[in-house]
């Protein structure tokens, strides 16, 4: 497979690209991107690559996607830290559970907690306050990054990778703490939100990766997302993963030859013509994808790592391992 980490001219990285290990040295990496670009697959491969590089890594899925358990043929991960492979843990973050845990950590008096959990008012408050669920979700992710975990018997991780929920606004997730700090002007939650905002926008601690596809609209969206992250949230994008790149299997001269053969109307040789046409289509797609890669390079600043299209019917452990190799 031809894996290209592009040498990028005319950017602030002119001549050099920070190695992937720079991303692994952060405490938190947020993997974002639109739906359908293979974000979960890339987040998992990235986590596995970090784990193989010796980092104790945990992958957080948000909103019960459970990709992780499917790939590793496990029972659902749920709101627990489960070891999936050497150095690799997984957790599926549930906002309601996060909220419970948050309150448990805030209120040390058991009677008060019981009172709160029994109360419908509390459930309602949680649902009614815009962004509160998202905030406690990010709060939980932050808690996972701590050396001194607040949760009893919590492991310490070198790296936390988040498979961020696919939303219309890619920046929404990262902006939640700041938005919430604005809603709750003062008080403990305001403080918490500010702490979280500081953490997710600190480039020493938090990295951001965007997953894209080599197609026109996803490339546009990636450029918009990078701009919004920079301008609205104030974070730099550390890496763009261009997923699903077809290999360039045939040279232009070969394609010309294939077109000649495919055009010959020799009856009775269906398979040969079909195979030639298939090869021509592959080369067209591969070429148009490279145009999109060029556009992406033009329109964005972050270093780009391309990942090959996988011609496998389903994504399993083997495929993730292959992608992790590409990333490492």
């Amino acid at each position: 497979m031809n894996h290209v980490t592009r040498f990028r001219l005319g950017t602030r990285h002119a001549g050099t690209i920070p190695p992937m290990s720079a991303l692994f040295d952060k405490r938190l990496v947020i993997v974002t991107g639109k739906g359908g670009v293979g974000k979960s697959t890339v987040a998992l491969a990235l986590s596995l690559a970090a784990a193989k590089a010796g980092k104790r890594t945990i992958l957080c899925e948000v909103a019960a996607q459970e990709h992780l358990s499917k790939v590793f043929h496990r029972a659902e991960v749920g709101f627990h830290e489960v070891e999936m492979a050497e150095n690799l843990w997984g957790i599926s973050i549930d906002p309601d559970e996060s909220m419970r845990e948050y309150v448990l950590l805030q209120l040390k008096v058991k009677a008060m907690r019981d009172l709160l959990f029994r109360s419908k008012i509390f459930t309602y408050l949680a649902a009614a306050t815009p962004g509160l669920k998202e905030l406690v979700t990010i709060g939980k992710i932050w808690e996972l990054t701590l050396d001194d975990r607040k949760v009893r018997k919590g492991h310490t991780y070198d790296l936390v990778v988040v498979d961020a929920p696919a939303t219309g606004h890619g920046v929404g997730f990262l902006q939640t703490p700041r938005t919430f700090a604005g809603i709750a002007r003062v008080g403990p939650m305001h403080q918490q939100a500010k702490t979280l905002d500081k953490f997710v926008t600190d480039p020493k601690k938090t990295g951001v990766a965007i997953v894209a596809l080599p197609e026109e609209m996803p490339v546009n969206e990636t450029a918009n997302l990078e701009r919004d992250l920079t301008e609205e949230v104030g974070v730099e994008v550390d890496r763009i993963f261009l997923n699903g790149l077809y290999p360039e299997r045939f040279s232009p001269a070969e394609v010309a030859r294939l077109e000649q053969v495919a055009g010959q109307n020799g009856d009775g040789n269906g398979p040969v013509r079909a195979a030639c046409r298939s090869a021509i289509r592959e080369s067209r797609r591969a070429a148009s994808q490279r145009e999109q890669l060029a556009r992406l390079e033009e329109m964005t600043k972050a270093p780009i790592t391309t990942l090959p299209y996988l011609f496998d019917p389903e994504i399993g452990v083997e495929q993730i391992e292959a992608l992790a190799e590409e990333i490492a």
């Binding site: 639109k34 739906g35 359908g36 670009v37 909103a63 209120l107 008060m112 009172l115 419908k120 008012i121 459930t123 309602y124 408050l125 649902a127 009614a128 306050t129 815009p130 962004g131 998202e134 929920p165 696919a166 939303t167 219309g168 606004h169 938005t179 809603i183 709750a184 002007r185 003062v186 008080g187 403990p188 939650m189 026109e216 609209m217 546009n220 969206e221 918009n224 299997r249 070969e254 030859r257 294939l258 053969v261 010959q264 040789n269 269906g270 398979p271 040969v272 079909a274 195979a275 030639c276 298939s278 090869a279 592959e282 067209r284 797609r285 148009s288 011609f311 496998d312 019917p313 389903e314």
Partner: protein, 383 residues
Amino acid sequence: MASVTELLDGKKICICAGSGGVGKTTTSAAIAAGMAARGLKVAVLTIDPAKRLADSLGLPELGNTERQVDPTLFKEAGIDTRGGELWAMMLDAKETFDDVVRRHAPDEETRERILSNRIYQQLSNALAGSQEFMAMEKLFEIHAEGRYDLLVLDTPPSRNALDFLEAPKRLTQFIEGRALQVFMKPAGFGMKVFGRGASVMFGVLRRITGVDLLEDLSEFFQAFSGMAEGFRERARRVTELLGDDETTFLVVCGPQGEPIEEAVYFHRKLVEARLPFGGVIVNKVHYEEDLADDGVDLVAELERELGDADLAKRVAANFADFRTLSARDRENVGHLAAEMRTRAVIQVPYLDEDVHDLAGLMEINRYLFAAGSEERAQIAAAA
């Protein structure tokens, strides 16, 4: 096998639903353009903030009102629309929500109190389902005005299509929920009703949230209380419209295992909710002719034709890769049709070029609007 023309026969509203990244926006635009090309006055509504639709129709600025796609674009694409028109709008959930508040607010003071409340200002972005509900709300509004033969709604890019169906319920529950009444009561009265427990309760809440947050919430709900009835009534009528005989849901998905499963799940939910399911559109299907393996040594044959052993090997390997994908897609689509117990499955092959203009939409429409056997022939021809 079916065509969009059949699926939309007698329909005034077409709702394209599906999980993110399956080409829903492009499909919605293609359907709208296709129906406009068949002489109808069509409006397509999208909420996508990435302005994909706007890009694809050459409308760089789409506002919260409909704009007509330049008819000369059709002419340039060699299409006689026979009086048909294509209109497009990008839904602005916040603005639509503001309109709803303006419409339902009993007086100016209430209106201003709500619009300036900080909780409200975050609501349309943060409350799950509010974007979806506002999409329905706008759909309802435009439908009521009766200016179009057909409305095509591209549902918001939520994690799963189900969020769309649950939106009205969530929003009404939010506005009229039991605890709302707690927030609505002036503090003293609330304490009396809920007793000492509630007073302690509020104390606890203050400790973890901060006083101002509770006050803002309380103020918000007090202001909203006068609108609850109007809101509920509106939500009921919007829900009714979704179930109308003249409405149809088209489920859009991709051919991989996960999108197929999500489409099956969504279809089940549609049926459970007694909402009108029209059909399913599978985008980006890999299609290779299903050739019988009659013992032909393909590599040898290719080598004979191409005169290049290495190239022959690579062409055969490439063909094997795509046949694997093609077989997977065929199996997945078969599973989909069986699970949905429907013949209304339209497949759009994975095209060589990305779709970004009217000509591209028309290319897709060769598949969306092909009738019966014609479709198979076309897919075969494309392959």
